[in-house]
């Protein structure tokens, strides 16, 4: 009897120790929790997440509008090919497969820039909300990155000249203010690589489609 009590007691004690140890180890893990952020960081975070939520809400509203259009066409017995065609244009433009036009900025860069500076500028414009970007006449798609080729910087196999023109479609004011913000990337590049920049707002930008073949060879869609 005493042996049974001993076994049960040990089992219970070991169980409690295990639970407490796991709890303690988890609380010591270096996970970043919201409680570790300052009020300023939390405000920034809320602003960023909320702006993304607005984007997502817009995307959802667009999709719901499309569904309504398809439903209406179905009820009226009409073909929905034209709806699908406009959907194709939108998706192809998003991926860089179609030329696009609109308003935005032209950023002209001169000086001893390197491939990293070109990639950083593209990321800066994306962060500022650019919807489509072209460097010289090369449309930037997801895999389009500047690399150092045989002595020259190139994107998608096309060499860049000593002066480049980056065209970005997006809010002209938003793009320009992000580029010009004090302590931003342009200031940094002006100081570190002695590059010169010019920014011009435009309402008549035209960006070409990519010439790169984006059809994957190794990746296949999941049915």
């Amino acid at each position: 009897m005493a042996g049974r009590i001993a076994q049960i007691s040990l089992f219970v004690v070991a169980g409690i120790i295990g639970i407490l140890l796991v709890g303690q180890l988890r609380s010591q893990a270096p996970a970043i929790e919201l409680s570790t952020l300052s009020a300023q960081e939390l405000s920034q975070l809320i602003e960023t997440v909320s702006s993304r939520n607005v984007e997502l809400s817009d995307a959802l509203a667009d999709l719901r509008e499309q569904i309504r259009s398809y439903e209406l066409a179905e009820v009226q017995g009409q073909s929905t090919l034209d709806l699908t065609e406009s959907e194709l244009e939108r998706i192809a433009a998003f991926g860089g497969l179609r030329p696009v036009e609109g308003q935005g900025v032209i950023l002209t860069v001169a000086g001893p820039f390197d491939a990293t500076a070109v990639n950083d500028l593209v990321y800066e414009l994306r962060g500022a909300g650019a919807e489509a970007i072209a460097v010289d006449d090369i449309r930037i798609t997801a895999p389009s990155v500047a690399t150092l080729g045989t002595g020259v910087i190139e994107i998608d196999g096309t060499p860049l000249g000593p002066t480049i023109e980056i065209r970005a479609i997006g809010s002209p004011d938003g793009l320009e203010s992000t580029l010009r913000r004090p302590g931003g990337l342009l200031t940094l590049l002006e100081q570190s690589i002695d590059a010169q920049f010019q920014i011009e707002q435009r309402t008549d930008l035209e960006l070409p489609a990519t010439r790169r073949d984006l059809a994957p060879q190794a990746a296949r869609p999941v049915e």
């Binding site: 919201l34 939390l42 699908t84 194709l88 244009e89 860089g96 179609r98 962060g127 895999p143 296949r220």
Partner: protein, 261 residues
């Protein structure tokens, strides 16, 4: 011939009493540590912070809900596109083109050979008087990794935070931004925290090409060595990457349709 089993060992009273006593002592110690750490944590959160934390949590939950709703709505749209009542040949051609555009734009879940890597903040102690920032994974590190992967022939890339699985992974698309935000990194404006998990699909040898890529070697590899950022990688026969979830409609421009050319 039979062998007698040895008599069963039993704990004698002093032995189990000592074990239980020791166990209770450990419980007391760990329990006190738990209590102290939870007290320390709540002590420094002001009421203003609490309100902000609650707002941030609500915004993040809303983001997750919106993501799920977009996925469901997108599936409905695709279902409509596949069952048009018009010409079957025209429909087939259009849907093939649409499928190719979706695949090229990162709007489909994809599977294939590739790699998985994880990068996390350094656990080395920051020397006195030195800034702790270089010991953290920065937005530049993720940008360089992504750039080096594309340059090495990757066909699809995702970034996830907090060691989470692919449900929270953000697919890298043509409009994807990667920016720092305090001690987190925003990818597609979704807030990710370390460790960061990057998965990519590409033809055989992707990992080897990545590890010898100049963009990786010149900045990330150097920072891993100098500051001790934690980094692990593995080639995989197959990885599955989720689709890009976000806005694909232009607000400031429009596609030039083929008939306009």
């Amino acid at each position: 011939m039979s062998r007698r089993l040895p008599p069963r060992r039993r704990l004698t009273r002093p032995q189990w009493a000592i074990s239980v006593g020791l166990g209770l002592a450990v419980i007391g110690f760990v329990g006190a540590a738990q209590w102290n750490s939870s007290l320390a944590r709540t002590e420094f959160i002001t009421s203003a912070q609490r309100v902000l934390i609650s707002e941030a949590e609500q915004a993040q939950r809303q983001q997750e809900t919106l993501g799920a709703e977009i996925e469901a709505a997108d599936e409905r749209v695709q279902a409509f596109q596949e069952q048009d009542a018009g010409s079957q040949a025209a429909l087939q051609a259009l849907n093939d083109e649409l499928a190719a555009a979706r695949l090229a734009g990162g709007l489909d879940e994809v599977r294939g050979p590739g790699l998985v890597m994880e990068i996390a903040d350094s656990i080395r102690p920051v020397p006195e008087g030195e800034s702790g920032t270089p010991y953290l994974v920065l937005a530049d590190d993720l940008r360089d990794i992504v750039t080096a992967l594309w340059a090495s022939g990757a066909e699809a890339i995702t970034i996830a935070g907090g060691g989470s699985d692919r449900i929270d992974a953000e697919r890298v698309a043509a409009t994807t931004s990667i920016d720092g935000a305090g001690n987190a990194i925003l990818v597609n404006e979704a807030r990710l925290t370390p460790p960061y998990r990057i998965e990519a699909i590409g033809a055989d040898g992707l990992l080897d090409r990545f590890l010898t890529n100049p963009t990786y070697l010149s900045r990330v590899a150097r920072r891993i060595e100098v500051y001790g950022l934690q980094f692990a990688h593995e080639a995989r026969d197959e990885v599955t990457l989720p689709a890009f979830i976000g806005n694909t409609r232009m607000r400031w421009g429009a596609p030039v349709s083929e008939s306009d050319d």
